[in-house]
């Protein structure tokens, strides 16, 4: 029943048999399809290849073999720039340009595309409200922003062109827990509200379940299981999935 759905509903992101090796194999025939408007959380232990997979979809790294389709178009070097603009990219930290103010970080690409000031300001206004960002912060340089503020700016920058796709690589990985909790709430409502297709890399099962419609579990360059959190907990595909689920510690269990 699952497979028939993937066949008939158009996919925003589709990868087929992606492989990539450096000194050793990092990705091994990874295929993943994400329907329009769905959020998939890609989860797995460190070094399992999930960040590399995300970079390949973004077109930042060339795969050794395999094919990527974005919104039905096969990615190639000649359309890479255009396809990248259909995807917003948010990384863990350090992605903001340190020599530019927050506002300049946001307008770099719109400026290049020739937007006028009014249109830029309007878009920034919308996104500030959406991400609960205080507009007075926009004149600061990244070094003068808190971690949470910097990630909100990163998200705003990724959303400036209103791309249909968001790729996020542990966006909340270096945020302290209280702010993180708040941002998780914000992200969930933003994903729902904007109807974006999202691929989110995380190593936290709770976050993966909270934000994702589906979870893809990865190990050593392969996707082991894809499904809802319920399916993964109740029907783990193998011993590894079982262990991975059990290894998530709840603060309440010691209580």
């Amino acid at each position: 029943m699952e497979t028939s759905r993937i066949l008939y509903i158009p996919c925003m992101i589709q990868t087929r048999y992606i492989s990539k090796s450096y000194d050793q194999k990092v990705l091994d025939d990874v295929s993943l399809s994400i329907e329009k408007g769905k959020t998939v959380s890609l989860i797995g232990p460190s070094g399992c290849g999930k960040s590399t997979f995300l970079r390949i979809i973004m077109g930042l790294i060339q795969p050794d073999s395999g094919e990527i389709q974005i919104d039905g178009k096969v990615m190639a070097s000649k359309n890479a720039l255009a396809l990248r603009r259909k995807m917003g990219y948010v990384i863990q930290s350090g992605g903001l340009f340190p020599h530019l103010t927050a506002r300049e970080n946001l307008t770099l690409v719109t400026h290049y595309l020739g937007w006028d000031k009014a249109k830029e300001n309007e878009r920034i206004q919308e996104l500030s409200e959406l991400t609960n960002m205080n507009p007075s912060m926009l004149n600061r340089k990244p070094e003068n922003l808190s971690g949470g503020q910097a990630q909100r700016i990163s998200l705003m920058r990724a959303l400036m062109l209103d791309p249909p796709i968001l790729l996020m690589d542990e966006p909340l990985g270096s945020i302290d827990p209280l702010v993180r909790y708040e941002l998780q709430n914000d992200l969930r409502s933003i994903f729902r509200e904007l109807n974006k297709t999202v691929l989110l890399v995380t190593h936290d099962l709770g976050e993966a379940a909270f934000l994702g419609d589906e979870i893809a579990l990865m190990k050593a360059g392969e996707i082991i299981q894809t499904g809802s959190i319920k399916e993964i907990i109740e029907h783990p595909a193998n011993e590894f999935v079982k262990q991975f689920v059990q290894a998530q510690r709840s603060p309440l269990e010691e209580y």
């Binding site: 930042l60 603009r85 995807m87 930290s93 340009f97 770099l108």
Partner: protein
């Protein structure tokens, strides 16, 4: 047919006369060697030519024999004073020259003419302190064979010349334990201080009497005659030639020794000494203006800033793109960084001299050398400034879907600015120091008083170049520090 030949012939004559230097509005270019006597003779010639109504340009202390000769043959200068012995032994050493006629004929092959001798023979000699010579019972050069313990200090040119130490050592079978090369004008000081025992002398040096030196007899007649003459280009304006040849037989050894003494020992200006000589012997009234300290300082400062400014400006324009290229084109990276690195390892003095055959003498070759020197720090810092930009930044820029050229302009270069600026600062400071060497090839600047100061053994003159050069380096450093701080704000 005959008409055609005639046409061709007249064309040749026409081009010859228009491309040969016959126009009188171009200045007569005079060069001098680095020692005082040569400078005085150059100054005398300058005033002589000017009193006849011609323009001159004088390059004082341009260098040693080779540099002057090459500049003359290469049409960088028109005339300079030299000595018959030097010409025969050093410049034309490989040719068979028996007599004056041979010499003139060989010079003619190079398009060079020689004036008749002025009337004094400034030969090489060896000298030591009178009292030490008496104590060791040394009269002639042969006597030195018995004293290998004596330390010898020779001018650098003498060390390397066939008619200098190289030949002398063979003819007299000398094997001293210590032979040092040093500037001739400093040699007397070393002798007086007792650091060295035997030095080479020019027989017209005023210091011989001043320091009470014993001139050792050349008992094997090794040293040839060194009659002072002017060498000038055959294509020089015919009208100027009498101003050059008027000194034939007119300067005696005593007069030359006296003039050398006035400049070197009494600290008189060479222009003043030359002017008085002309007034007394030739009834030539020359116009000389002795520059005051501040005028001189200002002129040297302008010259120096000119050298530094142009060479550094060019280096910035060229080096930043090269640095970017080294980052962007992987195959060029090692080659480019290696090449500019090697440039830096060439000793600055050598690099300056290498420039002479390419660019002649004056400011241009100095700027070329300084430019090459300034490349490395800027290229390297541009390269590393871009290279060290973190991976997340690089990825974020690409992920935005911006083209590479825009990423370079808006992100990579601005982020590399502090590093590039530091490179420019390093280049500028090195450049200010190295530019003092420019005076060696006639480029002027703060090196000029330093060179003159070394020649005249005058510490105040040396400081007149060294202190402003150091201050300028500090000023440049301070300015760049300010700009850096302002950028960080």
């Amino acid at each position: 047919m005959r008409f055609l030949i005639l046409l061709l012939l007249s064309f040749c004559i026409f081009t010859n006369s228009s491309f040969g230097r016959v126009q009188t509005d171009e200045p007569v270019r005079i060069g001098t060697k680095t020692f005082t006597e040569s400078v005085i003779l150059g100054e005398i010639l300058k005033q002589s030519i000017e009193s006849d109504g011609y323009e001159t340009a004088i390059y004082k202390q341009l260098g040693g024999t080779r540099i002057l000769w090459n500049a003359l043959v290469g049409n960088e200068i028109d005339v300079y004073p030299d000595y018959t012995g030097t010409i025969i032994e050093e410049i034309l050493g490989e040719r068979e020259i028996e007599n004056r006629e041979d010499l003139i004929a060989v010079l003619n092959e190079f398009g060079i003419k020689m004036s008749e001798p002025f009337g004094f023979n400034n030969t090489y000699a060896l000298g030591m302190k009178q009292e030490q010579a008496e104590k060791l019972d040394i009269e002639s050069i042969s006597d030195l064979q018995n004293h290998p313990e004596l330390s010898f200090g020779f001018s650098n040119e003498f060390m390397d010349r066939e008619d200098g130490w190289i030949g002398l050592q063979q003819v007299y079978q000398l094997q001293p334990q210590q032979v040092r090369g040093l500037d001739h004008d400093l040699a007397y000081r070393g002798l007086d201080a007792g650091n060295i025992d035997v030095i080479d002398l020019y027989s017209t040096d005023a210091e011989i009497d001043y320091y009470d030196l014993k001139v050792l007899e050349d008992d094997k007649s090794f040293f040839p005659e060194y009659e002072a003459v002017f060498l000038y280009r055959s294509d020089i304006d015919k009208e100027v030639v009498p101003s050059i040849t008027r000194f034939e037989g007119e300067i005696s050894r005593d007069e030359m020794v006296q003039m050398n003494g006035e400049v070197k020992l009494d600290g008189m200006d060479d222009a003043v000494v030359a002017s008085r000589f002309l007034a007394e012997t030739s009834q030539i009234k020359s116009q000389i203006s002795v520059e005051g300290f501040w005028d001189r300082l200002w002129r040297h400062t302008l010259d120096h800033l000119y050298l530094v400014g142009i060479s550094l400006g060019l280096a910035i324009i060229i080096a930043i793109p090269i640095g970017v290229l080294a980052v962007k084109v992987q195959v060029l990276e090692t080659a480019v960084l290696g090449a500019v690195g090697i440039l830096q390892t060439i000793p600055s003095l050598a690099l300056l001299v290498f420039m002479i055959p390419l660019f002649g003498i004056g400011a241009f070759p100095a700027i070329a050398a300084l430019f090459l020197y300034s490349l490395l720090p800027i290229v390297r810092n541009t390269h590393s400034g871009i290279k060290t930009i973190s991976e997340p930044i690089r990825e974020s820029a690409k992920a935005l879907g911006l083209p590479d050229s825009l990423i370079l302009r808006k992100i990579e270069l601005p982020m590399a600015v502090p590093s590039i600026l530091a490179g420019i600062k390093t280049s500028a400071v090195i450049n200010v120091g190295t530019a003092t060497l420019g005076a060696l090839i006639g480029a002027g600047g703060y090196g000029q008083p330093i060179l003159t100061g070394i020649r005249l053994d005058s510490v105040p003159l040396i400081l007149e170049g060294a202190i402003p050069a150091a201050l300028l380096a500090l000023l440049v450093q301070g300015l760049f520090d300010l700009v850096e701080r302002w950028l960080v704000e």
